[in-house]
Structure formats: structure tokens, C-alpha cells
Amino acid sequence: MATQPPPSTFNPQVAYITAADESIFQVLNEDGTDWDEAATQADYAEYLASKGLPE
């Protein structure tokens, strides 16, 4: 299973989700100080759906 690269803005000091295939999901808020959970969740759900995995 191909792994999705982390976003170019990825900050390991800020919350993120890692899928079973080690793909990393993180959308930062406007000032980059924390994650935008709703946006991250949307990306993560879209990815799982694209892989045919349960969300």
C-alpha cells in the first residue's frame, strides 16, 4: 500500500494522525500553532475512503 507523504507544512510538535500505512495527516490552523482538527479529519476520512477502509 502506497504511503502518502506528510504535508509540506508538517510540524511534528503539533497534533497529527497516522494511518495504518504510516501516512501522516495534519492540517494546521491559520497561525500554525495547532492543528485544524476538522480539516485534518476530513483529509483522513477521504484517504481512508479512497483505500476502501472503514472510517
Binding site: 497534533a15 494522525i17 497516522t18 494511518a19 479529519q41 481512508l48 472510517e55
Partner: protein, 195 residues
């Protein structure tokens, strides 16, 4: 609370406990001093404000001796909001994780001297593993504690804060979901002064 108000309240408290007959003496260096001058079997004693410092501005010296038995000098009882910033909490995530997915929380560190512990709690409708990690260099994280979460259950991990005050020890929460995708998940954490 203004310094003079605190001084006054403490002085009144000491007077109340040091009855029956007291005299107040104060000076620029020792604004609060309470001496038991009569009716004090065993000799009484003095309570004065010590030199103090940035971290302990209200350091007091107790000098003297108590008569044998159950005698005590003074006491402090919590009244009202003793510490209005007793804990600082975070709702780290409520995003359900897919099978074998994981959540890694934002790195946090203690920034207030009243905190003594860092705690994390996670609840999930599927089995998983909760961990609390710490780093001393901001890069490599050690797992301080781990707890298995049963399907439909919750787990809490709480560890004492160690290391130098402020940014020395940093913490992050971590949750690894099991083999079944979650429908409901919540993980939250807090710095706290409680036990």
C-alpha cells in the same frame, strides 16, 4: 490579591490562632511578626516573614517551642478560590481512528509553577492503547506510561512533572487504535496541581 491585603489577612489569621494574648510587632524587614506575650504555657514563639525569594515570596520562619501535648501554632484553611488556575486542559482529539491508526498530540510543557502533574484520559468504543510520552530534547520521546483501553472503556494516565521548570520536560499524548475502526473516540489532557 494585593500584597498588603494578603499580609493583613495572614496577620489576622495568626492572631486568631495565637490567642489568648498577643502583641503585633512589625518592621520594614518583618512586616508580620506575632509574639505570644502572656498566657502561653511553654513559652510561645514568634512567626515572622523570612527573606523570601522569587519562587517563595511568602516564606515564614517559625521560632520557639510548643508545650507538650496537642498544641499547635496557627493553621491555614482554604477559603474560596485558593487557586483559580488549578489546571489547564486540552481536548486533544475527538476524531475517530481507522484500524491501526494512531493519534499523536501536540507537544506541551509546563509554564506555571503551581502545576505538579500532567494527565491524559482517553475513551474509545474499540480497544486500543494509550500512552504518555516525554522528551528532554524536543526530538526523541520516551514512553513514560502506557495503558490498555478496552472497547467501550476509558483509561487515565497521570505522571508527576519532572525536570526544570518551564520548557525542560515536554509531554505528548499518543493513542494507537487496535484492529477495528473506531466510531467514537476522545482524548484529553491537562496540567494539574491536584493529586
Amino acid at each position: 490579591m494585593p500584597r498588603k491585603l494578603i499580609q493583613g489577612a495572614l496577620a489576622a489569621l495568626l492572631l486568631m490562632y495565637a490567642a489568648p494574648a498577643m502583641a503585633q510587632q512589625g518592621s520594614a524587614n518583618n512586616p508580620i511578626q506575632v509574639d505570644c506575650v502572656s498566657g502561653c504555657s511553654g513559652g510561645g514563639g514568634t512567626v515572622s516573614q523570612g527573606p523570601g525569594n522569587t519562587n517563595n515570596p511568602w516564606y515564614f520562619d517559625l521560632q520557639g517551642s510548643l508545650p507538650a501535648g496537642s498544641n499547635t501554632i496557627g493553621g491555614i484553611t482554604q477559603s474560596g478560590a485558593w487557586n483559580t488556575n488549578a489546571s489547564y486542559g486540552y481536548t486533544d482529539s475527538t476524531t475517530p481512528l481507522g484500524a491501526a491508526g494512531s493519534f499523536t498530540g501536540t507537544v506541551r510543557w509546563n509554564t506555571a509553577s503551581q502545576y505538579t502533574a500532567f494527565a491524559v484520559q482517553a475513551c474509545a468504543d474499540q480497544a486500543g492503547t494509550l500512552s504518555l510520552r516525554a522528551t528532554w530534547n524536543g526530538t526523541y520521546f520516551f514512553t513514560v506510561s502506557t495503558a490498555a483501553v478496552a472497547a467501550g472503556g476509558c483509561q487515565t494516565i497521570k505522571v508527576p512533572i519532572t525536570g526544570n521548570f518551564n520548557s525542560s520536560t515536554q509531554y505528548e499524548v499518543y493513542y494507537l487504535n487496535g484492529s477495528t475502526a473506531q466510531g467514537n473516540f476522545a482524548i484529553s489532557s491537562a496540567f494539574t496541581s491536584g493529586n
